[in-house]
């Protein structure tokens, strides 16, 4: 592995009696694209929130490009772009205004922010809707707008929490292509996802998290062990279904 862009050591977070993240270690090499997969409630969002400075950990250290997120948040936050889970944007701004706002918040000159906003809207297939309020955007359009906001200052490291959740296939393809292009250009990307197909297509590394712990991590072929990622994931975290025998009445052949 090359020089690590993201280093996580002993990250831990407890909410009341529930240990959401139970001391995780993670290394993501610079220029790689890593996926963080796990079942619902496994601790993906909590981990990403702590890595991006949005949630104070109980213990542990997060380094982004050698900068400690919790002792030097200013420098660390300048080096990252974030698309948080359940994207909530300033929905009374138009798409163009939102991206320009993101650029100016990140210190870009107004003209540069506007120019980049226009280019990103084009790549994200949002030019026709640039003048509409974000409040009127679909989920897929919001995700794409959020991705544009996270990219506008060209961060070396990008974090995305469930980038394809609730996104239609066309928007998903746009996001998928953009992530692949970012990874190919040498940026570091870490994202959580339920979509194994996306992780297999885009990522070179994957970490599987369950009950707040990393249960497998490494190059994707190594984690798959010759199976599909979906099967490897199910084998590691265990299939969780019960009570199906009670649904004997379900189905057209039943009475």
């Amino acid at each position: 592995m090359g020089e690590a862009a993201i280093v996580v050591r002993g990250l831990r977070k407890t909410f009341g009696a529930k240990e959401a993240v139970a001391g995780i270690d993670l290394d993501v090499a610079a220029g790689s694209c890593a996926g963080l997969v796990g079942p619902n409630g496994a601790g993906k969002t909590t981990s990403l929130s702590m890595m991006t400075g949005l949630l104070r950990p109980d213990a542990g250290q997060v380094l982004i490009g050698g900068l400690d997120v919790w002792s030097d948040p200013r420098a660390a936050k300048a080096a990252i772009g974030v698309v948080p889970a359940g994207v909530r944007l300033f929905d009374r701004l138009s798409g163009a205004e939102l991206l320009e706002y993101a650029g100016r918040l990140r210190g870009l000159p107004a003209a540069e922010a506007r120019a980049r906003a226009g280019q990103l809207l084009g790549v994200l297939d949002l030019t026709a809707d640039a003048g509409r309020l974000v409040a009127d955007y679909s989920t897929g359009m919001r995700k794409k707008a959020a991705l544009g906001c996270a990219l506008i200052h060209n961060p070396p490291v990008l974090f995305l929490d469930e980038p394809l959740e609730g996104v239609d296939p066309v928007s998903a393809d746009v996001i998928r292509r953009l992530l692949a292009r970012l990874a190919a250009s040498g940026s570091t990307v870490l994202f959580s996802s339920h979509v194994m197909e996306l992780v297999e297509q885009v990522c070179d590394h994957v970490s599987i998290i369950d009950k707040g712990r990393i249960v497998a991590s490494g190059p994707i072929q190594q984690v798959r062990h010759g199976k599909t990622l979906q099967q490897a994931f199910i084998d590691l975290v265990g299939a969780r279904a019960a009570g199906e025998e009670e649904l004997s009445w379900l189905g057209s052949s039943s009475g």
């Binding site: 991006t52 400075g53 949005l54 949630l55 104070r56 948040p73 200013r74 420098a75 936050k77 300048a78 990252i80 974030v82 948080p84 359940g86 909530r88 944007l89 300033f90 929905d91 009374r92 701004l93 138009s94 163009a96 205004e97 320009e100 706002y101 993101a102 100016r104 918040l105 990140r106 210190g107 107004a110 003209a111 506007r114 640039a130 003048g131 509409r132 309020l133 409040a135 009127d136 679909s138 906001c149």
Partner: protein, 528 residues
């Protein structure tokens, strides 16, 4: 079908009641309020007995109830699942039995019952003799049936719009006239009645045209039956029943279409294309640009500004034409500034999860100062002219336009104090918020009411204390020549306000810097 839908409404009510302590308290308060309203309306109608303008007042009250049924279900659209035909569209239901069920559901609950019981006051106040006593309950029941059908007609007709973002915005704006009516009824009417400017006789002739509306037909049917014109009374009731039936027929038609019509909630319009303003002023200008746009486009922001104006006017209007007009003008200015502080005293929580978007760029104390001062600049651009105009307007109504300058001095100091207090409370006492169905503005989530109350009373008290020196200076210099006194007061008050705001920004930034992740969590826990 009717029982099934009534059962659905009762189940939703009982589930909402059990969902939280706040819901339980709201239910108890709402039921108590319904009982109080029923008692007040019943008494108001009953005491009309023998008054010359009794039928005019009864007509006004019947019409007011119908207006309530017309407007309030628009607010309750998201609260009552049976109001939106889209929730029933997936099921194979025939429109006619469905309509009967929906009408029965509308008539279920404390408020419809309070409506019937309250209006039955006409049995005492207006009815005479056997025909009057027989016609009065029938007229009340027909009036309530008309109201229920009217409410269904309006909500079903507007369902597509009310489900959309633009419709929700429009419904939110309805809050302002309703709030203004409430202020008139609670502040102005009691004072006018106390001063003898509003008497039962003031309503004489009011029903000249109201009597031909359906509520007027109901009230006049009672009067006609009581005065021996039973035929005219029956004709009025027949006309009311026909109008209700026609409305019901139209509503069933709309309902039939709504059950098979594609949802159009994704239709939207574009805003004017242009760059964000204040580009030259760095991070402060960037934040100011966002807040400035939000003051115009966010319905809750416009509602807050409207409430500031309505309360400033309502709090002082009845004292303006009395010798105590000066005190009314100054207190109006102070109240306006205090409301400004209250409405912006939880910026992160009120912004909601989108605050995280800004927080990623707020990486230093200096950046936080820019954030708070940018917000203050955007708010001041509206607050200063708005409060100044209202103060001068009220002074003009009082007949002492020059007194407006004194109120404006309090406005200047108050606005500075409100900015400082709102910034400090945002950093010191933040709490997560949520937007409940039926309410266009955000409130504290359950378990955080104490913080919200703390910020509210702290803002009120803090503003009162902060404007105290300006009010005291105005009293102490009251004998000095106005040509010297007023410019000095205005300049000093403005300087004082700016100093307060400047200090507030610095304190708030220092408090917020180490707790930015906690502010982010509060914002993330605020439901969008």
């Amino acid at each position: 079908m009717a029982w099934l839908i009534v059962g659905l409404k009762l189940r939703s009510l009982s589930n909402a009641l059990r969902s939280s302590r706040r819901a339980t308290i709201s239910f108890i308060l709402s039921t108590t309020l319904a009982a109080v309203v029923a008692a007040i309306v019943f008494t108001s109608l009953a005491v009309l007995r023998g008054h010359g303008a009794a039928v005019d007042e009864a007509t006004a009250i019947f019409t007011a109830f119908a207006f309530g049924w017309l407007v309030l279900p628009i607010f309750a659209f998201g609260l009552d699942a049976t109001l939106d035909p889209a929730t029933l569209a997936p099921y194979p239901l025939r429109p006619r039995p469905l309509a009967t069920g929906l009408l029965a559901a509308s008539a279920t609950g404390a408020w419809p019952l309070a409506n019937v019981l309250g209006l039955l006051g006409v049995v005492i106040g207006l009815a005479r003799g056997v025909p009057g006593l027989l016609i009065a309950p029938a007229a009340v029941l027909l009036q309530v049936l008309f109201c229920v059908t009217l409410a269904r007609f309006v909500t079903t007709g507007l369902a597509g719009l009310l489900r959309s973002r633009r419709g929700k915005d429009l419904a939110a704006f309805l809050l302002l006239p309703v709030f203004a009516c409430y202020q008139v009824l609670s502040q102005v009417v009691p004072r006018m009645a106390f001063e003898g400017k509003l008497r039962p006789a003031s309503f004489a002739g009011l029903d000249r045209w109201l009597r031909w509306l359906p509520p007027g037909l109901a009230a006049h049917a009672v009067r006609d039956a009581s005065s021996g014109r039973t035929g005219a009374a029956l004709l009025s009731l027949l006309l009311l029943a026909a109008v209700t039936a026609a409305l019901g027929w139209l509503w069933t038609g709309i309902l039939r279409r709504a059950l098979v019509t594609v949802d159009t909630t994704t239709q939207s319009s574009a805003v004017r294309r242009g760059a964000l303003p204040f580009a030259r002023y760095g991070l402060r200008g960037t934040v100011a640009a966002r807040f400035w746009i939000y003051q115009r486009r966010e319905p809750s922001s416009l509602i807050y500004w409207g409430i500031v104006g309505v309360v400033m006017i309502a709090a002082s209007v009845s004292s303006l034409l009395t010798p105590s007009y000066r005190g009314a003008l100054l207190s109006s200015a102070g109240i306006g500034a205090a409301l400004l502080a209250i409405f912006h005293s939880n910026s992160a929580g009120m912004t909601g999860p989108a605050f995280v978007f800004e927080a990623m760029a707020l990486t230093s104390r200096r950046a936080l100062r820019c954030y708070f001062s940018g917000q203050n600049l955007a708010l001041s651009v509206i607050a200063v002219p708005l409060l100044t105009a209202i103060s001068f307007g009220l002074a003009a109504i009082a007949g002492h336009p020059a007194a407006g300058f004194l109120a404006v001095a309090v406005d200047f100091a108050g606005i500075g104090a409100s900015m400082a207090l709102s910034n400090i409370f945002t950093a010191r006492l933040p709490y997560p918020t949520e937007k409940r169905e039926g309410s266009p503005v955000r409130g504290a989530t359950e378990g955080h009411a104490a913080r919200a109350l703390g910020a509210t009373f702290g803002s009120l008290l803090g503003t009162a204390v902060a404007v105290g020196p300006v009010a005291a200076a105005e009293v102490l210099t009251s004998t000095d020549p106005a040509v010297v006194r007023i410019p000095v007061l205005l300049v000093c008050a403005a300087g004082y306000g700016i100093a307060l705001a400047w200090a507030g920004v610095r304190i708030a930034a220092r408090v917020a810097e180490p707790k930015l992740p906690e502010l982010c969590q509060i914002a993330l826990h605020s439901a969008a």
